[in-house]
Protein backbone atom coordinates (compact mmCIF):
# COMPACT_ATOMS: atom_id res chain seq x y z
CA UNK A 1 0.00 0.00 0.00
CA UNK A 2 1.44 3.39 -0.99
CA UNK A 3 1.64 6.49 1.18
CA UNK A 4 -1.62 8.31 1.58
CA UNK A 5 -1.93 11.97 2.33
CA UNK A 6 -5.09 13.72 3.39
CA UNK A 7 -5.35 17.29 2.25
CA UNK A 8 -8.14 19.71 2.96
CA UNK A 9 -9.68 22.95 1.81
CA UNK A 10 -10.61 24.31 5.23
CA UNK A 11 -8.31 27.33 5.01
CA UNK A 12 -9.71 28.20 1.57
CA UNK A 13 -13.30 27.72 2.68
CA UNK A 14 -12.67 29.84 5.78
CA UNK A 15 -11.28 32.59 3.60
CA UNK A 16 -14.37 32.43 1.38
CA UNK A 17 -16.65 32.66 4.41
CA UNK A 18 -14.31 35.18 6.02
CA UNK A 19 -14.24 33.51 9.43
CA UNK A 20 -11.42 32.80 11.86
CA UNK A 21 -10.42 29.38 13.21
CA UNK A 22 -11.87 30.41 16.55
CA UNK A 23 -15.24 31.31 15.04
CA UNK A 24 -15.35 28.09 13.04
CA UNK A 25 -14.47 26.10 16.15
CA UNK A 26 -17.35 27.67 18.06
CA UNK A 27 -19.77 26.91 15.22
CA UNK A 28 -18.70 23.26 15.04
CA UNK A 29 -18.40 22.77 18.81
CA UNK A 30 -14.66 22.06 19.09
CA UNK A 31 -11.62 24.05 20.17
CA UNK A 32 -9.55 26.32 17.94
CA UNK A 33 -6.64 23.92 18.40
CA UNK A 34 -8.68 21.11 16.84
CA UNK A 35 -9.50 23.23 13.78
CA UNK A 36 -5.86 24.29 13.53
CA UNK A 37 -4.52 20.73 13.68
CA UNK A 38 -7.04 19.54 11.08
CA UNK A 39 -6.23 22.47 8.80
CA UNK A 40 -2.48 21.80 9.02
CA UNK A 41 -2.98 18.07 8.47
CA UNK A 42 -1.66 17.05 11.90
CA UNK A 43 -4.95 15.55 12.98
CA UNK A 44 -7.38 13.49 10.93
CA UNK A 45 -10.94 14.18 12.11
CA UNK A 46 -13.64 11.59 12.63
CA UNK A 47 -16.32 11.10 9.98
CA UNK A 48 -18.80 12.98 12.16
CA UNK A 49 -16.53 16.00 12.49
CA UNK A 50 -15.67 15.92 8.78
CA UNK A 51 -19.40 15.87 7.94
CA UNK A 52 -20.08 18.74 10.33
CA UNK A 53 -17.36 20.82 8.69
CA UNK A 54 -18.56 20.02 5.18
CA UNK A 55 -22.15 20.80 6.15
CA UNK A 56 -21.07 24.11 7.66
CA UNK A 57 -19.30 25.14 4.45
CA UNK A 58 -22.14 23.81 2.32
CA UNK A 59 -19.96 21.45 0.31
CA UNK A 60 -19.41 17.68 0.05
CA UNK A 61 -16.90 15.95 2.35
CA UNK A 62 -14.94 14.85 -0.74
CA UNK A 63 -14.62 18.47 -1.76
CA UNK A 64 -13.35 19.46 1.66
CA UNK A 65 -11.02 16.48 2.15
CA UNK A 66 -9.00 14.78 -0.54
CA UNK A 67 -7.00 11.59 -0.21
CA UNK A 68 -3.87 11.77 -2.31
CA UNK A 69 -2.07 8.54 -3.20
CA UNK A 70 1.68 9.03 -3.53
Amino acid sequence: MGNQELTNQIRVQRAIKNITQEELAAQIGVTRKTINTIETGKFVPSTILALKLARFFGIKVEELFTLNEE
Binding site: E22, E23, A25, A26, G29, V30, T31, R32, K33, T34, N36, T37, F43, P45, S46, L49
Partner: protein, 144 residues
Protein backbone atom coordinates in the same frame (compact mmCIF):
# COMPACT_ATOMS: atom_id res chain seq x y z
CA UNK B 1 -18.28 35.91 23.46
CA UNK B 2 -18.61 32.12 23.30
CA UNK B 3 -15.43 31.69 21.28
CA UNK B 4 -13.18 33.66 23.59
CA UNK B 5 -14.68 31.91 26.62
CA UNK B 6 -13.73 28.44 25.29
CA UNK B 7 -10.28 29.72 24.34
CA UNK B 8 -9.88 31.15 27.84
CA UNK B 9 -11.05 27.93 29.50
CA UNK B 10 -8.62 25.91 27.39
CA UNK B 11 -5.74 28.15 28.39
CA UNK B 12 -6.79 27.85 32.05
CA UNK B 13 -6.86 24.05 31.77
CA UNK B 14 -3.39 23.98 30.16
CA UNK B 15 -2.05 26.29 32.84
CA UNK B 16 -3.51 24.15 35.62
CA UNK B 17 -2.00 21.04 34.04
CA UNK B 18 1.39 22.77 33.94
CA UNK B 19 1.25 23.65 37.65
CA UNK B 20 -0.05 20.19 38.56
CA UNK B 21 3.01 18.73 36.80
CA UNK B 22 5.39 21.09 38.61
CA UNK B 23 3.69 20.44 41.96
CA UNK B 24 3.75 16.67 41.50
CA UNK B 25 7.38 16.64 40.32
CA UNK B 26 8.55 18.62 43.36
CA UNK B 27 6.30 17.13 46.02
CA UNK B 28 6.55 13.44 45.17
CA UNK B 29 10.16 13.76 44.01
CA UNK B 30 11.25 15.07 47.41
CA UNK B 31 8.99 12.50 49.10
CA UNK B 32 10.96 9.70 47.40
CA UNK B 33 14.22 11.46 48.21
CA UNK B 34 13.34 11.43 51.92
CA UNK B 35 12.72 7.69 51.76
CA UNK B 36 15.98 6.90 49.99
CA UNK B 37 18.53 9.29 51.57
CA UNK B 38 19.84 9.02 55.14
CA UNK B 39 21.37 12.53 55.45
CA UNK B 40 19.34 14.65 57.94
CA UNK B 41 20.23 17.94 56.28
CA UNK B 42 19.08 16.75 52.86
CA UNK B 43 15.91 15.29 54.39
CA UNK B 44 15.21 18.65 56.08
CA UNK B 45 15.72 20.60 52.86
CA UNK B 46 13.67 18.06 50.88
CA UNK B 47 10.82 18.37 53.42
CA UNK B 48 10.70 22.15 53.03
CA UNK B 49 10.84 22.07 49.23
CA UNK B 50 8.37 19.16 49.21
CA UNK B 51 5.91 21.17 51.31
CA UNK B 52 5.90 23.90 48.65
CA UNK B 53 5.41 21.28 45.97
CA UNK B 54 2.50 19.77 47.91
CA UNK B 55 0.85 23.19 48.27
CA UNK B 56 1.25 23.88 44.52
CA UNK B 57 -0.16 20.44 43.68
CA UNK B 58 -3.14 20.60 46.04
CA UNK B 59 -4.13 24.18 45.13
CA UNK B 60 -4.06 23.38 41.41
CA UNK B 61 -5.81 20.05 41.89
CA UNK B 62 -8.66 21.86 43.68
CA UNK B 63 -8.77 24.49 40.89
CA UNK B 64 -8.75 21.72 38.27
CA UNK B 65 -11.65 19.88 39.93
CA UNK B 66 -13.52 23.19 40.34
CA UNK B 67 -13.09 23.89 36.61
CA UNK B 68 -14.36 20.41 35.78
CA UNK B 69 -17.43 20.96 38.00
CA UNK B 70 -18.12 24.38 36.46
CA UNK B 71 -17.80 22.89 32.99
CA UNK B 72 -20.46 20.36 33.91
CA UNK B 73 -22.95 23.23 34.12
CA UNK B 74 -22.11 24.44 30.61
CA UNK B 75 -22.57 21.35 28.44
CA UNK B 76 -21.67 23.15 25.20
CA UNK B 77 -18.36 24.41 26.55
CA UNK B 78 -17.64 21.02 28.15
CA UNK B 79 -18.26 19.26 24.82
CA UNK B 80 -16.03 21.70 22.94
CA UNK B 81 -13.19 21.43 25.46
CA UNK B 82 -13.38 17.65 25.58
CA UNK B 83 -13.56 17.28 21.81
CA UNK B 84 -12.07 14.38 19.86
CA UNK B 85 -8.58 15.88 19.66
CA UNK B 86 -8.49 16.30 23.44
CA UNK B 87 -9.75 12.73 23.94
CA UNK B 88 -7.11 11.43 21.54
CA UNK B 89 -4.39 13.37 23.35
CA UNK B 90 -5.60 12.03 26.71
CA UNK B 91 -5.59 8.51 25.30
CA UNK B 92 -2.04 8.93 23.99
CA UNK B 93 -0.87 10.39 27.32
CA UNK B 94 -2.26 7.46 29.30
CA UNK B 95 -0.73 5.07 26.79
CA UNK B 96 2.68 6.67 27.40
CA UNK B 97 2.09 6.52 31.17
CA UNK B 98 1.27 2.82 30.93
CA UNK B 99 4.44 2.20 28.91
CA UNK B 100 6.55 4.08 31.45
CA UNK B 101 5.04 2.06 34.33
CA UNK B 102 5.75 -1.22 32.53
CA UNK B 103 9.34 -0.25 31.67
CA UNK B 104 10.09 1.11 35.15
CA UNK B 105 8.76 -2.12 36.66
CA UNK B 106 10.90 -4.14 34.25
CA UNK B 107 14.00 -2.12 35.19
CA UNK B 108 13.38 -2.73 38.90
CA UNK B 109 12.79 -6.40 38.23
CA UNK B 110 16.20 -6.51 36.56
CA UNK B 111 17.86 -4.64 39.45
CA UNK B 112 16.19 -6.98 41.97
CA UNK B 113 18.12 -9.86 40.42
CA UNK B 114 21.38 -8.38 41.71
CA UNK B 115 20.46 -6.43 44.81
CA UNK B 116 17.71 -6.13 47.40
CA UNK B 117 15.44 -3.10 46.98
CA UNK B 118 12.72 -1.74 49.26
CA UNK B 119 9.24 -2.53 47.93
CA UNK B 120 7.88 0.82 49.19
CA UNK B 121 10.58 2.76 47.35
CA UNK B 122 9.97 0.82 44.14
CA UNK B 123 6.21 1.45 44.34
CA UNK B 124 6.79 5.16 44.97
CA UNK B 125 9.18 5.49 42.02
CA UNK B 126 6.84 3.63 39.67
CA UNK B 127 3.94 5.85 40.78
CA UNK B 128 6.08 8.98 40.44
CA UNK B 129 7.21 8.29 36.90
CA UNK B 130 3.83 6.90 35.83
CA UNK B 131 1.93 10.03 36.88
CA UNK B 132 4.67 12.40 35.74
CA UNK B 133 4.84 10.88 32.27
CA UNK B 134 1.06 11.20 31.84
CA UNK B 135 1.17 14.84 32.96
CA UNK B 136 4.19 15.78 30.83
CA UNK B 137 2.91 14.06 27.69
CA UNK B 138 -0.50 15.68 28.29
CA UNK B 139 1.24 19.05 28.41
CA UNK B 140 3.20 18.35 25.22
CA UNK B 141 0.15 17.13 23.30
CA UNK B 142 -1.96 20.06 24.49
CA UNK B 143 0.69 22.56 23.56
CA UNK B 144 -0.17 24.73 20.55
Amino acid sequence: METSMIEKLEKTRCNLLKWLTIGWAIWFGTFIMKDSIQNDMIIGAASTVGAFGWIIFIINLIKFLKLKRELGWDKKAEKALNDELHQLNMHKSFQIGFGVVIWTTAVFLGIAEFTEIKAVLVTEIILYFGVLSVLISGLIYNHD
